[in-house]
Amino acid sequence: MRFILRRLGFYFIAFWACITLNFMLPRFMPGDPVSRMFARSQDRMQPEQIDQLRRLFGVDDRPIWEQYINYIGDVLTGQMGVSISRFPTPVTEVIASQIGWTILLGGVSLIIAAVVGNLLGILAAWRRGGLVDSGLPPLLIFIGSFPYFWLAMAALYLFGVVLGWFPLRHAFTSGLEPGFTGEYLLDVAHHLVLPALTIVLVSIGGWMLGMRNTMIATNAEDYIIMAEAKGLKPGRIMFRYAARNAMLPAVTSFGMSLGFVVGGALLTEVVFAYPGVGYQLLAAVQGLDYPLMQGLFLTITAAVLIANFLVDILYVRLDPRVRTS
């Protein structure tokens, strides 16, 4: 319990730091970007919308501490103002409409990468020096040297442009009515394959190597020899005895990646024009849409923190040592 409270306190501090950073950036940056934004879009807005944005960005004469307290209040109650580039939709609505795609893309690729990567790691450690163990890691390290977005571009070029197997952009064919129909779901899946595959390709190596290294250590434990001496089937020893005890670091990295599902797919979404929060974040930056930018950053950070906290709770259940220390 103390562990959980300590972690909770830490996450609050982290979130507070993030809010503070968000508060300070538009106020102390040179060049006064916010005034530019107002100059561009003032005539379209209602007076109360302008007032709220002025409050959020500190374009008024109140003392700074008062602005700060108000700002924290606004953020915690979800009042992030209206989006400029997608006027007059409130920022929260823009984010809500797009976060689903990000979670779909990030979630699917994370699960595939984690499952396949860990299985490969288990196999590699079990057959040391075998094909999986000696062939794959150098290849994956080499692939990992390429900048991710470049690999994604190459994949898009090869499979999208040259071979024409997969669509080039967006999450579903425009004009198709969203709904739980077979046609729509197939179309979504078809659009998902290429972006998800590129993420899996670059992230699978980390999973595999991590699992392999822990598993090698576990394989040397006495209880493995004991299990062999008992004459258990190799498959049973491999999964129930060795892999199970080597899972813990993988759980940690799964949690961390779970958080980055929301923010980490930014480059993927940009290359494949996938309509998630990362794509929107870049669009907001290009459109000088500061309210949306801030809202997205806060959402992404909050997602990272919540995911990490959930893993902490899970960890307490999985590892008794955390409970006692």
Partner: protein
């Protein structure tokens, strides 16, 4: 007491290392000199085997060779292509030919000239970011480990917060608010990159802080700075070097990513901006593979070379790692036996 410690630690003379030792060691030395203490000299005994080991290590040699080619290309770029590389010199979107070995961009620029000139900015930013981020991480890690208690708690908290904040979105946000330019790119990459190295270096410094010779130095009344940089630092030289290489890889990759998103200075020529323009001009869609393959390949090769050197440093200097490889060698026998037995 101090004398005996110093004696054991520096029996190997400090400045008599062959100057050709390695370029990377030089980079570290430059980095450390910023600390205003003469720590730099290649560390004592572990350093000796490091230089020797690296010189005879094949991975290190391959990595250094690849990296050397790029550094030479970057230095010679103004000689090879004295003209402004972004000048339009030819027809647009020409495939590779004898005149333009790597073809031309959609604007009619020579891709080879752009790539060679791009090495300058990319390597410069990568090295700067790597060195500064490692140095900040080193300061935080050493201070954390040396002072302990409240200072450690505060610095660790700061590090962990920075580690937890989503890196790429933070990069994007910072780059959006700051005025565009090379300085901004470097600054932003350092802000988002130092925390990782701080965490690694702190844990290493902590384990050395607990050693007897550090306690002895404290008792002898040495100044904190001296203990941090002359007692603790030399004993973690290899991990500092590993961190530095990792930070340079991060710097090059993240700069490219940032510029690819159009958030860098799009008027400079670097591998990242080359890819940005290639993507912007639709090189992919018209099938102009030569416009985006070279820059990406260069980034990958540099990162691969640095990673090779990093593995070599690990292999050569880390006795624990060496033991692990030995032990895995032993373990290796087990599963094969198992396989035979079960088959």
């Amino acid at each position: 007491m101090t004398n005996s410690i110093e004696g054991t630690a520096s029996t190997v003379p400090q400045r008599t290392r062959p100057p050709s030792g390695s370029r990377h060691r030089g980079a570290i030395a430059g980095n450390d000199d910023g600390g205003a203490t003469p720590i730099a000299g290649p560390p004592r005994r572990p350093g000796g085997s490091l230089v020797h080991g690296l010189l005879t290590n094949r991975k290190a040699a391959t990595g250094a060779l690849i990296l050397g080619v790029f550094i030479v290309a970057a230095l010679l770029a103004p000689v090879l292509y004295p003209d402004d590389p972004s000048r339009i010199t030819a027809l647009a979107s020409q495939p590779p030919s004898s005149d333009f070995p790597l073809g031309t961009t959609a604007k009619g620029q020579d891709v080879l000239a752009l790539t060679v000139h791009g090495a300058r900015s990319s390597l410069f930013v990568g090295l700067t970011v790597g060195i500064v981020a490692t140095f900040v991480g080193l300061l935080v890690g050493l201070a954390s480990a040396y002072f302990g208690k409240l200072a450690d708690d505060a610095l660790s908290l700061l590090t962990n917060v920075f580690l937890l904040l989503p890196g790429l979105p933070l990069l994007v946000i910072l780059a959006a608010f700051l005025p565009p330019g090379l300085g901004t790119v470097i600054l932003v990459l350092i802000v988002t990159g130092w925390a990782g190295s701080a965490r690694v270096l702190r844990s290493q410094a902590l384990s050395i802080r607990a050693k007897d010779f550090v306690a002895a130095a404290v008792v002898a009344g040495e100044r904190p700075l001296r203990i941090m940089f002359r007692e603790i630092l030399p004993n973690m030289a290899s991990i500092v070097m590993g961190t530095l290489l990792a930070c340079v890889i991060y710097g090059i990759g993240a700069q490219a990513g940032l510029e690819f998103l159009g958030l860098g200075d799009v008027s400079t020529v670097s591998w990242g901006t080359n890819l940005y323009w290639a993507s912007n001009d639709g090189a992919l869609l018209v099938g102009a593979w030569w416009a985006f393959i070279p820059s990406g390949l260069c980034i990958a090769l540099v990162a691969f070379a640095l990673a090779l050197i990093n593995y070599a440093v690990d292999e050569v200097t880390n006795p624990r790692l060496r033991k692990v490889t030995f032990r895995t060698g032993k373990r290796q026998a087990d599963p094969t036996d198992k396989g035979k037995a079960s088959a």
